[in-house]
Amino acid sequence: MVNSNSKGGSSLEDFGIEYASAIESTSLVNIKDKYGLFIDGNFVDSSSGKSFKTLDPSTEKPLSVVAEASSDDVDRAVRAAGVAYEKYWKKMPGADRARYLFRIARHLQERAREFAVLETLDGGKPIKESRDVDLPLAAAHFFYHAGWADKLEYAFPQRQLEPHGVVGQIIPWNFPLLMAAWKLAPALACGNTVVLKPAETTPLTALLLAEIIRDVDLPPGVVNIVTGAGETGSAIVEHPEVNKLAFTGSTEVGKLIQRSAIRRNLPLTLELGGKAPHVIFEDAALDQAIEGVINGIFFNQGHVCCAGSRLLVQESIADNFIDRLQKRIELLRVGNPLDKNTDIGAINSQAQLERIDQLVKAGIEEGAEVFKPSCSLPENGYWYPPTVLTGVQQSHRVAREEIFGPVLVVQTFRTPEEALEKANNTPYGLSAGIWTEKGSLIHWMAERLRAGVIWANTFNKFDPTSPFGGYKESGFGREGGMHGLAAYLKNSGGRS
């Protein structure tokens, strides 16, 4: 969509540039009328007969109907995983496990376009992101971890380690396939079997992955995928034969899961929410910093746990920086996620849209000034324009709570010490960004920021070799790299 601009001087039209729409074809994707649960190598109906609809959030049109796993179904899945662990996976040499993972990676690469379109349809994210980020990274995660499967003793010398057995994994709706890859690849490489639950608003790519898992002849029961909402998740968390839990999602739910894990002394890793500071010093390369800030908060509609949602800009450049930022935001194209030109797609669900709207209203009530570009939004579907809130105080809800939408909150600072104080003034600690041309300042900040991932003069970069995870209430444990393997192994003969 082409934006008109009330501020003048920076819209695409003013440059005489218009984007013709370039809609990605959906012909590659064959969405079934209904989907079953993937248990023990087969797609099966739920025992209760219950199901739920999954929508295209950009149109609100139903895409398909998906089985809702009851606790009986989860029980079946866990048992299947337990049998598969004893019967196949535990005995299989690492080199053979590796071959299965390499196969999955290759199939994902081969069917990447189909997956990307389905991801965009079911979740609302722009096709250029699902195509250029989600899919390549998902395949890379399987490829990277495949290579570890027969080399684990090199990662942990002098330790006698073994897999946990059955692992329960619960993943969110913001990167549905990628999070499945982050969870499955290391678990399988380390020799565990899995029961995975995708989010209820985005189950389709995980179910398509189940087809690949069947196509590559992975032994039945090694991976089981059960769809459903919170109750299905609880059934996994509470199941007595699950030996380890991994959860990515909200801090609120993560805390409930941690309580359950503590009661039962169960190994757990959590990747939770964030409220990342994005710190811009006056000597930063401003054009690059603007792009970094835009990417930091508007990538995937801001539905990113590590999103750079709190802009901390040095006072001496604040007015200029915010002015340039707003001009850049005017150029963002919000609309049809399947359009290859789209920068910002649909909000994932009605519930999330309401939460974003409610928090922004709270911010305005508490005294923030709001900037929204002059773009129009499609009539149907769930949409929220890119938004900037200035005049925000540390005590405001919008400065403290995770919004998980395309909303940037701006504060200023004078000295590096003040920047650090404000940046660390949060219960979260997932990620942080720094922009300055001064190397020593980068390292000074990077050393003191209490966050698990620091992006300096860049933002939102991910790689299977690079450990990802939080400090404080953003969770514990790492995903990716050698460090990510540790979560899926335990000392032989004992826990943790």
């Binding site: 309580r259 620091i454 970069k461 790689d463 070799t465 400090y471 404080k472 790299g481």
Partner: protein, 281 residues
């Protein structure tokens, strides 16, 4: 003639480098194996616990900011101070029921434990950190950092080696700690505090509270400025639902029945930080 009546030690808390009594004014008595009173020991309250956390928080960044080399030297200094007080610890352990031979062995092992962890101070980063070959023009590395403020439930057996085996791996990387000790082991814990107070360990890095672990446990588990807890020392009968509140701020909960030298124990109180920077001209 004076001097024939021995002067008994007052067992007090160890908070922020000082030895205050409990603000509650309470004490509990510890008897020797014959049933004779050894001491009335300060019984820490919730408020004492908060004071200890405040001191630990204030000391954490400065302690972590010291060079690894310096932290290593200070831990080695603890070993030196312990060596010079061997006889005192033998007598103390004997009074609470440890036989002479075991007591001597326990002290030797405790000294060696400080020496072993002292040597790790400038080495674990190289073992546990990494440079990551990401697919793109970025320099990407992962370094371990201390978790922050750690609450430790002191093991009751063995009282000296048990506590030192938890304490040294927690502080060597720059964490600060609040220890809760009870019963007979309180005497050992406080005496270890006296060693630390004369070992160049900065005030607040280690704080030691004596009292009733079951009473103090909820305050430790629920305190929002405690980042991690080591509950390896709790009794087997402890109801784990008492620990649940640790989730209120997503504390790292460590329970590891290991009493040997262990790099894993050191790793339990580390966070991994990954830094990305572009490579270009």
């Amino acid at each position: 003639m004076t001097g024939k009546i021995p002067i008994a030690k007052t067992y007090k808390l160890f908070i922020d480098g000082a030895f205050p009594r409990s603000e509650s004014g309470r004490t509990f008595s510890v008897n020797d194996t014959e049933g004779e009173l050894i001491a009335n020991v300060s019984q820490a309250s919730r408020k004492d616990f908060r004071e200890a956390v405040r001191a630990a928080r204030a000391a954490q960044l400065p302690w972590a900011s010291r060079t690894a080399y310096n932290r290593g030297q200070i831990l080695y200094r603890v070993a030196e101070m312990l060596e010079s007080r061997k006889t005192e610890f033998v007598e103390l352990l004997k009074s609470i029921g440890v036989n002479s031979r075991s007591a001597t062995r326990e002290i030797e092992d405790s000294i060696q434990r400080w020496v072993w962890y002292a040597g790790w101070s400038d080495k674990y980063s190289q073992i546990l950190g990494s440079v990551n070959p990401v697919s793109g023009p970025y320099f990407n590395f992962t370094v371990p950092e201390p978790t922050g403020v750690v609450g430790i439930i002191a093991p009751t057996e063995p009282s000296m080696l048990g506590l030192i085996s938890r304490l040294a791996p927690a502080i060597v990387s720059g964490n600060t700690v609040v220890v809760v000790s009870e019963g007979h082991s309180s005497l050992t814990s406080v005496t270890i505090g006296e060693v630390l107070a004369t070992s160049d360990v900065p005030a607040g890095v280690v704080n030691i509270l004596t009292g009733d672990q079951t009473d103090l446990l909820p305050w430790m588990v629920g305190h929002l400025d405690v980042n991690a807890i080591d509950i390896s020392g709790i009794s087997q009968e402890t109801d784990l639902t008492l620990i649940e509140e640790a989730a209120s701020n997503v504390k790292r909960v460590v329970s590891r029945q290991v009493n040997e030298e262990s790099l894993e124990l050191l790793s339990d109180f580390l966070e991994m930080k990954t830094v990305w920077h572009p490579i270009g001209r």
